[in-house]
């Protein structure tokens, strides 16, 4: 019987005319797909080890390398395609669950790409952001029904708010799932731009306390690294009930990633697995969630907004209504395309609903119940560019969460192998030799560029619609039209078809 029933996913093509056998590729590849053959004095490759992260390709000084999808093919079959067959081989060989990284990559509809924006013509002038101010400032937190004023002064301060310069935040990624340098990059960028990053469930490394003003600290089912100083270190607290990539599933950081720094930050013994249970074992229903929300508010003297993050699932609108009534200041909804460091493939690819539909349904429901201003809505999974953000805001989001886009800005090439811990780009790894490949200063510069570019684009789109402050777009679904959507999808999105 063959050792392995299958063939490599990728093939590495080395142009021998260009290759100078300098071994850069061999040194760069943590998967050991390239190695130096001392007897022959040349660098050779093993296709079967390649994950197509493109690290070698981008660093090769003579551009001698090309990675391609493997030429080999199974007999064409629309049903039993290559993925389906290979997954069977893998499970037959190991007896294990299939694992994967990053967000759902299946060919489901992407509703963002079926929504078009409006622009002013004739009856309403468009506004040029180079000439007129266009404002993106956003406040997250519960808003009172009315502002009370006495003698020209604010009689009652607002509940605690997060003040964002742009309606984009970095969503939760724990120290452990990503490297400390990646965490630093997120923290430094959030601080420079005036927005928030999120610790995920990995606790807060001591070097990151100074970015507290721009930090959302997360409390998840494993409670890793949660203590009073941690809760009070951030600008807001987020209770993680669920994650779009794996609704209903907990987390598992393998012991080999729990080095000294991760161990002390998470407050767990060195080298032990960090297992987050699927549910919070003190939250079996909505009234329990309310208790945790208020326990956290008590712990921070009602000075910080409390967010509740949930995965977008079928009954999302009713669940969010309950969360708003349970006292949450912010609800973060994570769509089924949301990213992850590691998730069971079957869960990631088959559970949850699209964020566009979930967001629209939740915003509509909260408005029908007259409680929309009690809570801010943040959506994530997957926001890819500034147009997605603008569409999300028009559907009703106060702000969005991005994670994959931020990692891509740092160098991620979407090979989806985060769960192996061998990230060649120094992002999803704890290997010190790999981590140092990500320079936080350079990462911050790139990430700031990305957000600034998005700001410019959002201002152009807003100006085109004749809007000079983002709040006038929020929930303004008249600015959206659907293309290629069915009636029921248009109804859930609350938008008209193009041409109507």
């Amino acid at each position: 019987m063959a050792i392995d029933m299958t063939f490599p996913e990728f093939q590495i093509e080395r142009d021998r005319d260009k290759c100078i056998d300098c071994q850069v590729c061999a040194r760069q590849c943590s998967n050991q797909a390239h190695f130096y053959d001392e007897e022959e004095g040349i660098v050779v490759s093993d296709d079967s080890k390649c994950v197509n992260c493109l690290r070698c390709v981008t660093l090769c000084p003579t551009k001698a390398l090309t990675i391609k999808k493997h030429d080999m093919e199974f007999k064409l079959n629309a049903n039993w395609n290559e993925t389906a067959i290979k997954e069977i081989y893998k499970q037959a060989a190991t007896g294990g669950m299939l694992l994967t990284g990053m967000g759902n990559d299946r060919n489901y509809p992407i509703f963002w790409d079926h929504i078009l924006l409006n622009a002013s013509q004739v009856t309403n002038p468009s506004i040029d952001p180079l000439r007129e101010p266009i404002e993106l400032k956003t406040f997250l937190g519960s808003k009172p029904e009315r502002v009370l004023i006495e003698n020209g002064r604010l009689a009652e301060p607002l509940p605690p708010q997060l003040e964002l310069e742009i309606p984009v935040m970095f969503s939760a990624m724990s120290f452990g799932s990503i490297s400390l340098n990646a965490c630093k990059t997120l923290a430094m960028t959030a601080s420079a731009i005036g927005t928030m990053y999120n610790t995920g469930e990995g606790g807060l490394h001591k070097d990151l306390y100074k970015y507290g003003k721009n930090t959302i600290v997360q409390v998840a089912s494993g409670r890793f690294g949660v203590h009073p100083e941690y809760l009070n270190a951030g600008a807001a607290i987020e209770i993680k009930m669920g994650q779009g990539a794996k609704p209903g599933i907990g987390g598992h950081l393998p012991g080999e990633k729990v080095g000294a720094e991760v161990s002390s930050t998470r407050m767990i013994p060195l080298g032990t697995d960090a297992i987050s249970p699927a549910p919070h074992h003190d939250i079996y229903s909505i009234e329990d969630l309310k208790q945790l929300i208020y326990a956290l508010k008590e712990a921070t003297e009602y000075r910080k907004p409390v967010s509740v993050k949930i995965a977008a699932v079928h009954n999302i609108a009713a669940i969010c209504s309950g969360i708003a009534r349970a006292g949450a200041d912010i609800i973060a909804i994570d769509g089924y395309r949301g990213g992850t460091g590691s998730a069971p493939t079957r869960i990631r690819d088959n559970v949850g609903i699209p964020i566009e539909l979930a967001l629209a349904a939740v915003d509509s429901r909260l408005r029908e119940e007259g409680i929309r201003n009690r809570v801010s809505l943040v959506c994530g999974g997957s926001i890819r560019n500034s147009a997605d953000i603008i569409k999300a805001v028009a559907l009703g989001a106060d702000a969005v969460y991005v994670a994959s886009a931020a990692l891509i800005a740092m160098g991620c090439h979407m090979c989806q192998k985060c769960y192996t811990g061998k990230c060649n780009w120094g992002i999803a790894t704890q290997d010190p030799n790999l981590v140092k490949r990500l320079n936080p200063e350079i990462g911050t510069r790139r990430l700031k560029n990305l957000l600034n570019a998005w700001s410019h684009e959002m201002k152009e789109m807003l100006g085109g619609m004749g809007i000079n402050a983002i709040e006038s777009l929020r929930g303004n679904r008249l600015m959206l039209r659907g293309i290629g959507l069915m009636d029921n999808e248009l109804r859930v999105l609350g938008i008209k078809a193009a041409g109507e």
Binding site: V147, G370, G466, S472, N476
Partner: protein, 385 residues
């Protein structure tokens, strides 16, 4: 007992126009002319001047909507709410009167007198009632009279097919129609009414409105709004207002603006200055430069009432029982001019519309973006004093 039908739209009125394209079934952007004259001492004067002023800006409208609001016209019934109602037919009138009878004591009701005018056709039945909420209904509702009336107006306008309450305040009324404003004035004989505040509107919609209700001024309780512009925040504004019981059945910007001021000033008790800082908010750059106390207040307003920011070009004249306010959008995308002569204040889209009725007017100025001109009428109670 009368039951509410499924339809919450007023139907097409002008024959030959598909119902889909009639006011209320779609949003119709419009350009416009607006004008106002007020006597700050509260001395009423005839509607002739306001007619001539708005007629001067004929080319800013296209014959598809004109109207007038007049304050102080019903001194003999000033304790009663005056309802001006359009009916598309007898059924609408019967249903509405049945509803009004259940909820109000009707002091007097009758047709609003009109005269034949060439330019005005397809008139609905136009009725006027002076009424007061029934004491038992009011007590049952646990609302104050204004709130009770507001909810009844919403009920009629959103659920009685073919009925539309054009105005519902005290000692005031709105006279509007599809036509050029000067024809509308002649049709309603507004030269025979005397008011201390007059506002007027000539409409240039980009589509043929099917119903008189869509003409301006738009009114609720004592509020009236005439408006020139198209607000790009409409969708955001309306979805917020709907949470508080407002029903924007006509899908017009003006309707939304009226409800915004009703919500902020009448319901939440904000001053006009504060309401302006909400709907035409200062820019964040300017807010950062304010003194801490003011900064905190404006920040709280912008955060709390973010959805009530009015965006896009507008010039409006908001009037109520004891005053009026002219306001431009915060980056001044529409013309609006004010002037003064004696006790009279003049406001119009164009200076010519003021000069034509008052050549000697002084203190002529163009209003700045987001800077309101507030005028209060002496000796009359109302909002803001």
């Amino acid at each position: 007992m009368f039951t509410f039908g499924e339809s919450n739209r007023v139907g097409a009125h002008i024959s030959g126009i598909s119902e889909n394209f009639s006011e209320g079934n779609m949003r119709i952007p419009a350009g416009c002319a607006i004008s106002a004259i007020a006597n700050v001492k509260g001395i009423p004067f005839s509607g002739k001047a306001i007619r001539d002023s708005i007629a001067n800006m004929r080319e800013r409208s296209n014959g598809l909507g004109g109207g007038f609001a007049a304050y102080g016209i019903y001194p003999e019934y000033k304790g009663f709410y005056a309802f001006h109602i359009f009916y598309e037919g007898c059924a609408a009138q019967e249903n509405t009167e049945c509803f009004l009878g259940e909820n109000f004591d009707i002091e007097v009701g009758g047709k609003i007198p009109t005269r034949k005018v060439v330019g005005i056709t397809d008139a609905p039945l136009i009725w006027r009632y002076f009424l007061a909420p029934r004491v038992d209904k009011l007590a049952e509702s646990e609302l104050n009279a204004d709130e009770f009336v507001m909810r009844c107006v919403m009920r009629v306008n959103s659920s009685i097919d073919g009925a539309y309450i054009a105005s519902s305040g005290k000692n005031m009324g709105v006279f509007k129609a599809v036509g050029y404003p000067e024809d509308v004035a002649d049709f309603y004989m507004i030269d025979t009414y005397k008011a201390y505040i007059w506002t007027a509107h000539g409409r240039f919609p980009t589509n043929t409105p099917g119903w008189w209700g869509g003409a301006h001024p738009f009114a609720l309780l004592d509020w009236t709004v005439v408006h020139n512009g198209e607000i790009s925040s409409y969708g955001a504004n309306v979805r917020f207002l709907e949470m508080f019981g407002y029903k924007c059945t006509l899908q017009t910007d003006t309707e939304a603006i009226t409800y915004i001021f009703d919500h902020l000033v009448r319901r939440h008790g904000l001053s006009f200055e504060v309401a302006v800082a909400t709907v035409a908010a200062p820019f964040w750059d300017d807010i950062e430069r304010m003194l801490p106390e003011k900064r905190e207040l404006i920040k709280a307003l912008r955060a709390t009432y973010a959805s009530l920011l009015i965006n896009g070009p507008f010039s409006i004249i908001l009037a109520w029982g004891n005053g009026l306010m002219a306001l431009n959008d915060r980056i001044k995308l529409r013309s609006l001019v004010s002037a003064q002569h004696g006790d009279n204040i003049y406001i119009a889209s164009e200076e010519a519309a003021i000069r034509t009725v008052c050549p000697e007017a002084t203190n002529v100025r163009s209003l700045g973006g987001g800077e309101p001109l507030l005028v209060f009428i002496e000796g009359i109670d109302g909002y803001g004093n």
